[in-house]
Symmetry: C2
């Protein structure tokens, strides 16, 4: 049996929830056979024979391998510890340890250490790390200081969360430290740059961004396995992650965009914009400085050199022939992941579209 | 008014409890005037006019300054974080944050991060760090990595615990990393060395030590203020700390022993051995490889080149003229610190003896 290889690019919460839905979808497909579509059935099913023949079965020996390429531009050193917000959100979510309502961080988390760090005057105070989460950063920092690459460290974190047993391989897009900074106008009319996390978490992206710069990006090399996972994939999926500071950063790592342009796999994405607004986060504040319209079509335009299929919400059903590159298959469905079943159905629909486009 | 300067050498729990007792004693003396002896009155009072004229009053502007020189030989790097067990026990105890029954670590501590570190496979598993305690190590490691000395870092930790307001200055004996190792016989009849903490905590000092070696000790320089605090002290106190791996390490830092020999201050110690056994810890296992008798007199012999006064338990009342260097003033009293008041009384008695010997 030929193993199906699915590769996904992902940011944090939205991507993680979508991919957990994908894992559930594949597990369900394995259990129930030819069931390529999720339970909510909001989508007209594709050619089920073809889809059923490829999808289904996830696990170390199963017929599907899911490679998740995570954004590392959000990474930040806090209290001397290396924090990888998106990789951790992916590991926690796919491994069943995430704080469900919040979408990031650990379930049943405590904050004793952070409270003590504040008493010690060890800043910053705008990024509160939970005790369990902190352990991940402590272990990662130690392993990195011992010479481990971020790939190796991420694999160890993935093992702790049982990702290999689930057939999931979590890769950082690069082992080289990159950091997204946001250039803002300062009070005197000049410019200042702050770490993306500070703008995102402390400022809640309220101060308009002039532009984004990614320290280290031009010199970064794709991590081992990243380009191969894109080139040799059977399906490439873009979950509804932030197109600028999540997917955009991944695409900026030298070689990644070329690999996507050159892959024989269909590339199918899910719009992170519904009805002209981001589903969560501040994608609008990220699109503005790029001069890109905050719309499903606007985001698709950022991917137009490699995108084959695009899922948009029913609220964004395109006018006939309007706004999209010729040849792009745009499919309309409910995009909001209201719960785990909704995420599963959405992921199933995206996979279905990709399989149809093979 | 001339400020009285008291300098003490200290290990962990025993030293910290004694010194907290000393701080309480000095505060009480300040409040009540000429009261040089603690509340339990087990000791015949010394010349009260002399003692009352010197003791009393502790605080940043008070007439007494207490400098505590802490052992750093127990220091260890765990999970990439620099842990200073004795300095932290001193800060937590003197600052009111210690786990009272345990004697070390933080009160009302939780262990979420350590549990997660174990799940991540980030060892070792024999040294469990609490979440609040961990924050101290995280901040210290960060400050050290930013170029701070251990003295500077310890001062910041001391500030968090309000030590300056209490008139207490906590100094590491050296800013240079030193680590006590224990040489043990291995199964094949050869030798192996393990970190002191591993032997002490994991092995509970059950395996007989052949000897102790202290990595870095010969090249270590006394931290700023340490030698001056001994030379310019009015009183030097040795709390009932381990004479080998706590006080002994401090004495091994070049210059410290000479400063003690040369100081004009009376040096008064409290025996950590009562009735031929250590009060707590495994001092007997530490004295054995030195060939030193596990007795109050045996420990005094380790200090004989600078010791002026020695408090021993009533159980160890010396025979007339027996076992001690001629000229050493040996005073007998109850030494067990059964509670905070007991520690206060003991510290008061030690100070009293020192003031008599000036």
């Amino acid at each position: 049996m030929v193993r199906m290889r699915i590769t996904a690019l992902a940011g944090g919460v939205g991507g993680a929830r979508f991919l957990r839905g994908l894992v559930h979808h594949l597990q369900r497909t394995e259990q129930h056979g030819h069931r390529a579509e999720g339970p909510d059935g909001g989508e007209s099913p594709g050619p089920s024979g073809r889809a059923g023949g490829l999808a289904g079965g996830l696990g170390p020996a199963g017929p599907v391998e899911l490679t998740v390429i995570g954004n590392t531009g959000d990474d930040i050193t806090l209290h001397g510890l290396r924090v990888c917000p998106d990789l951790d959100t992916l590991a926690y979510t796919l491994g069943g340890g995430v704080h469900e309502e919040q979408g990031w961080g650990r379930a049943e988390e405590t904050f004793a250490a952070s409270e003590e760090l504040a008493r010690l005057g060890s800043g910053p105070d705008w990024f509160r790390l939970g005790d369990r989460d902190l352990a991940t950063h402590i272990a990662r920092t130690r392993w990195l200081s011992q010479g481990g690459t971020l790939s190796q460290v991420t694999a160890r974190v993935g093992q702790r969360w049982g990702l290999p047993e689930r057939g999931v391989r979590l890769l950082p897009v690069t082992d080289d430290p990159i950091e997204t900074h946001v250039v803002l106008e300062d009070a005197a009319g000049g410019e200042r740059a702050v770490h993306f996390q500070q703008w995102w978490v402390q400022d809640r992206a309220r101060t308009p961004a002039l532009r984004f710069t990614v320290a280290g990006l031009d010199r970064a090399a794709a991590a081992p396995g990243v380009l191969d996972a894109l080139r040799q994939a059977d399906v490439v999926l873009l979950p509804p992650s932030n197109p600028v500071v999540s997917i955009g950063i991944i695409l900026g790592v030298p070689g990644v965009r070329d690999a996507l342009r050159g892959t024989r796999a269909p590339v199918v994405g899910v719009s992170p914009i519904i009805g002209g607004a981001p589903v969560r986060g501040h994608a609008d504040a990220c699109l503005a400085p790029l001069g890109v319209e905050v719309s499903a079509a606007g985001v698709a335009g950022l991917y137009e050199d490699f995108l084959d299929g695009w899922l948009v919400d029913t609220a964004d059903a395109p006018p006939a022939g309007g706004g999209y590159r010729s040849g792009l298959v745009v499919r309309t469905r409910e995009l909001r992941m209201r719960d785990a079943l909704g995420a599963e159905a959405l992921a199933g629909a995206a996979l279905q579209l990709a399989l149809e486009l093979r």
